[in-house]
């Protein structure tokens, strides 16, 4: 973690320096893992395949949480993260993580039963907590937009469905044919969530620097991260027998695009609020002047 030091005299929003790629790693690992845990219940096809998928999912979540642990300033006090369930979504995420791991491991051990569904639901709850963590960060305009919660949920489902599609292609006997259609549905949801999120940011205003990151990203993301896998899936539905690898590639692209999206929002578009004056003060014989909000789109 880098020191938080504010450039002296800085008025326009600047990029926060506290949460870097490691924070993005938590959202990437958490989203992918919980999404996979959810789709593994539907797509595994056999107990052995479920075990593999669930273990991969837990590994993803674990890597994400390790990233967070590596970022905090006092890692040996990490247990204190459990102290504030009343209002902190970070505490709630940590609280959900414990039974999530226990249930998923129990599901792996017993190979089914109630633990499978419980682990999947806890995963969705964990993912929801991640969305609320960003939403509660009032100092970062690109994060605090309420629509980010549905975007984080949709992205997690796409990542999970993408990875499930890939694993289904690799594992023997796994993967119903409709899994590609589920991935397509998740992609459409993510496209919708992204559009709604970005339009809300345009409407409410954003630091110009954050908009300079998100606008060009959005154009590329919609083409490469959304349209490309959607086309691949549709082609795969018709020509899957001739080109069996298409859904695998579609899953890979959908997964990678989710990671790209989160890295961009968490690590690149994280410009802070900056400062603003609703009115300029009267100086000498002058009059009150309209206020200023330096570095903002509106």
């Amino acid at each position: 973690m880098s020191d938080i030091k504010i450039p002296p005299g800085r008025v326009t929003p600047w990029h926060q320096t506290n949460w870097d790629w490691r924070a993005a790693g938590n959202f990437i690992g958490g989203g992918t893992g919980t999404g996979l845990l959810f789709f593994a219940t539907l797509a595994a096809g056999s107990v052995d395949n479920y075990r593999i998928m669930a273990l991969v999912a837990l590994a993803c979540i674990g890597v994400g949480l390790t990233c967070v642990w590596a970022e905090i300033g006092r890692p040996f006090r990490a247990i204190n993260v459990y102290f504030h369930p009343q209002t902190s979504w970070m505490t709630r995420e940590a609280i959900v993580a414990a039974p999530l791991f226990l249930c998923a491991l129990a599901a792996v051990w017993f190979g089914g039963g109630l633990f499978v569904g419980t682990a999947a639901l806890l995963g969705v709850l964990f993912l929801y907590c991640q969305g609320r963590i960003l939403h509660a960060a009032k100092g970062i305009p690109a994060w605090r937009e309420p629509k980010i919660v549905s975007l984080i949920l949709a992205t997690g489902f796409v990542e999970g469905a993408g990875l499930a599609t890939m694993l289904a292609a690799l594992l023997p006997g796994a993967g119903p044919r409709w899994l590609a259609a589920v991935l397509l549905g998740a992609l459409i949801l993510r496209r919708l969530a992204w559009t709604v999120y970005f339009k809300a940011l345009e409407k409410s205003g954003l630091p110009k620097k954050a908009m300079e990151v998100l606008r060009p990203f959005g154009a590329k993301f919609e083409m490469l991260g959304q349209l490309a896998p959607e086309i691949l899936i549709v082609i795969g539905i018709f020509y899957g027998a001739v080109l069996p690898g298409l859904t695998f590639v579609a899953g890979l692209v959908a997964l990678a695009a989710g990671w790209w999206l989160k890295y961009t929002i968490v690590a690149r578009a994280a410009y802070n609020q900056g400062y603003a004056l609703p009115s300029l003060p009267v100086r000498g014989q002058g009059e009150v002047m309209p206020g200023v909000k330096p570095g903002w789109t509106k």
């Binding site: 973690m1 938080i4 005299g9 993260v81 902190s88």
Partner: protein
């Protein structure tokens, strides 16, 4: 119950940064860390330009987002409205720093010095290892406010129990006092003048009031 706030008369501030220097001296903050600082905002287009000097720092919000997000309860709010940090339980996750819309929080991981690679006398004497790798910010000099309670003094009136930045201000820009007391210095200033609070639309109910004109 008291609600301590600060008023900033923007008509008076000349951007001398004496408050910044006095805060750094009073709180022994490391290089690059300014719990109280003064922005220099240029606005308008030639020839109609304005220059505004704006002291900023922790706003000691009544509804502080930093406190709500803190997973360890290290950030807390006192009964008198002052928002503080318990350095002993803070995990340094930085969530409060990204939740604060006033950029008021700092985390320092390496010990640095103002001049060269060795501490001067002041830095050596006042180094506090508890403040390494945890969040820190303006405290409204809460130790002085506590002293006032014990000795029957009035913060904002008696200098020894008034924040260092307010005491040092050469232009009478800063004032400190109890918003709940209608006879306090700050309540009277706000009754006589027009004011705003920064980023009020975010619902934080900040405790720094910026005066920009008379009523």
């Amino acid at each position: 119950m008291a609600r301590y706030i600060m008023t900033v008369d923007l008509r008076r501030c000349i951007g001398c940064q004496t408050c910044t220097a006095s805060c750094r001296h009073a709180n022994a903050t490391p290089p690059g860390v300014q719990w109280r600082k003064v922005l220099d905002i240029e606005s308008g287009e030639f020839p109609d330009v304005r220059r505004s000097f704006v002291p900023v720092g922790c706003m000691h919000c009544a509804d502080p987002p930093c406190m709500h997000v803190c997973p360890s309860t290290a950030t807390y709010q006192r009964d008198d409205g002052i928002v503080g940090i318990d350095y002993d339980i803070c995990i340094g996750c930085g969530y409060c720093a990204v939740a604060c819309p006033y950029q008021a929080r700092y985390i320092v991981h390496r010990r640095e010095f103002a001049y060269g690679d060795k501490p001067n006398q002041q830095e050596e004497a006042r180094f506090d290892p508890k403040r390494m790798s945890v969040a820190m910010k303006c405290t409204f000099c809460s130790d002085r406010v506590d002293y006032a309670k014990e000795h029957g003094l009035t913060p904002g009136v008696d200098p020894e129990v008034t924040p260092a930045c307010v005491n040092s201000c050469i232009a009478g820009v800063l004032a400190f006092g109890d918003r709940e007391d209608p006879n306090s210095n700050v309540s009277q200033l706000l009754a006589e003048n027009q004011f705003f609070r920064m980023h009020e639309e975010l619902g934080t109910d900040p405790g720094m009031y910026y005066i920009f004109d008379k009523k």
